[in-house]
């Protein structure tokens, strides 16, 4: 079976699974309903209570998880391709921490700022965090260890500044804390409207650029000889990462490790040399975050827990696995 066939079959499976996941996500929770009930409640527009729950709370939340998961996963895939570093991701690269610092600063310092502008703040913060880690980690060749150390150092630094903002601004602290752990609780349609344009544009562009991105993976020199405008592709990819990860953080907080895990999982399944690699990554990211979101409702049932906790608990062992695999390869 060729790679492309396999990838195509997997994408169909992925789509089916994602739909099942979305249905599961709208069916499961504090008001439990069967899958069939959930779907009928969704279609049935008579103002039943179930319809209200599904259409104003559960559906936007499930869709938001899918959108953000796709964005983070593709951002991670692009970063791993650009740096050639298996540990690269929005989380390890300080992009998430930078974006959350900027958003918390905006909440505290500019309370009049309309919510849609948070995304722009998040972009600025994401640039800051990403550049800092890149500069510190790439001196004298970026090894995975250097990247991880620089990323953690920058992350600690940015998050202690974030904590300072929170300590000095005590009202609305609870909400900010929840958001800071990465959370989809309380998502509504306005959140979707805020993130969808950025995410859709970012995803579409990255699919269009998939060829250039996979050529970049072969290294700078090869890419140049194959006629790539290396600097231009780099800049474009940086921009894509910032838009994809930053818009997600602006809405749902820094959700970690989706961008680290998913590209690897997809690579194990189909390899990264197929044209469907990035779309599959997006699909798998969406699926992962939707499932993690369902899980997060049961950690402290009946209370909500931030989904970022679930992804961190899944991601940390995966990180260790990657590390030990790297070492064996080296």
């Amino acid at each position: 079976m060729g790679r492309t066939t396999k990838a195509a079959i997997l994408s169909v499976c992925g789509i089916v699974l994602l739909i099942l996941g979305l249905v599961g996500s709208i069916a499961v929770g504090w008001t439990d309903m069967g899958a069939v009930d959930a779907v009928t409640a969704l279609i049935d527009s008579s103002a039943s209570q179930q319809h209200l729950i599904v259409s104003t709370l559960r559906l936007p939340r499930a869709l938001l998880a899918a959108i953000i998961g796709a964005g983070l996963a593709v951002a991670g895939a692009i970063m791993q391709a650009m740096t050639g570093n298996p540990l690269a991701s929005p989380q390890t690269f300080g992009v998430n921490a930078g974006a959350s610092l900027a958003v918390v600063a905006a909440i505290v310092l500019l309370p009049e700022l309309p919510v849609p502008y948070y995304a722009l703040m998040a972009f600025a913060g994401a640039v800051l965090g990403g550049l800092a880690v890149f500069a510190m980690g790439s001196a004298g060749g970026m090894t995975p260890v250097k990247l991880a150390l620089a990323g953690t150092a920058v992350h600690l630094f940015l998050s202690s500044l974030t904590e300072a903002f929170i300590l000095f601004h005590q009202h609305s602290t609870d909400q900010v804390l929840f958001w800071l752990a990465g959370s989809l609780d309380g998502a509504d349609w306005s959140d979707i409207r805020r993130v969808l344009p950025w995410a859709a544009a970012g995803l579409l562009l990255s699919f269009l650029m998939a060829r250039s991105i996979s050529i970049m993976k072969m290294g700078e020199d090869v890419a140049r000889n194959l006629g790539q405008h290396v600097a231009r592709v780099r800049a474009m990819c940086g921009l894509l990462v910032i838009v994809l990860a930053g818009s997600g953080v602006a809405v749902a907080g820094p959700i970690g490790f989706v961008g680290l895990m998913v590209p690897h999982l997809v690579r194990y399944a189909v390899g990264s040399q197929t044209r469907l690699y990035l779309p599959l990554t997006a699909l798998a990211g969406a699926l992962l975050l939707v499932l993690a979101d369902i899980l997060s409702r049961f950690i402290a049932y009946p209370y909500e827990s931030p989904v970022g906790i679930v992804t961190a608990l899944l991601g940390a062992p995966f990180f260790l696995y990657l590390v030990s695999k790297e070492r064996r390869a080296a």
Partner: protein, 329 residues
Amino acid sequence: MAVKRLLLPLLLLLLVVAAIVSMGTGAVFISPREIAEALLGTGTKNHAFIIGQYRLPRVALGMLAGAGLAVSGVILQGMIRNPLASPDVIGITKGAGLAAAIVIFLCPKSPPVLLPLAAFCGAAAVAFVLYLYTRRRSVQPSTLALVGIALGVVCQAGIQYLMVKNPGDVNAALLWMAGSLWGRGWEHMWAVLPWLSVFLPLTLLASRRLDVLSLGDDIAEGLGERVDRLRVLLLIASVALAGACVAAVGSIGFVGMLSPHIARKLVGGQHAILTPVAACIGALLIVIADSIGRGLLPPMEVPVGIVTAIIGAPYFLYLLARERKKRFS
């Protein structure tokens, strides 16, 4: 070389000056002369009380904690051979934080002794897992760092979970996480002192071995060092130092990372001189940061940890610029 030898006394002098300034600032200003009188027992009762019961133990604890964190950083940076390693990055501080959060949230009525004890156990637990993970193979320094980072992430997730579940006590926990000398007294000082008085001299004794180790594992082994065993011992020393300090003052960040750096700039990489200089710089950093935190917006206090992060920022940026320059030159 002469300059280097003068540096240590100079730093100690600076430390004394900083301590005097720190004891003077606060809601009640006390002049240096009055401080001296209070210390000698000839001052007013009021001042003697403030100094003896509040400000002196606080300054002493700050110095000890700064020195301990700095030396812990020296050990880790020498051992892992990366200038960004430090107890906060390796997850030790986060382990202490998780244990502290468990105590703060789940048994808020517990006696105050329990919190530092739990924090120390948390740090030790992270160190133990680190040790277990690395025991089977030879202890690669990079593995140590990466496993520590992953453990830190897990602990952080736990802390966030507890914070979100118990929104009522979040401020106490946040204050502890930020690291603060507020309300610390002699008993905290006495709790830290034994750890430091054992492990600081031990580290100094091991300074030649740290020098050898920072040349690389192969060279160290060639020079007759039992690298794996040495590394485990050094890890224990570093965790004991960091754990004791974090237990007493909360997770003050960046002192463990920045002090060894600054010291290395000043005196170079020989651990025999690097270690004491880094300890002095760590102590200075915390004492100065604490005075700033108290003097900035009296009667409100800015937690020391936040001040050290803000002081750390420009230095961090400077490091960044230097690394960039190295890369492009």
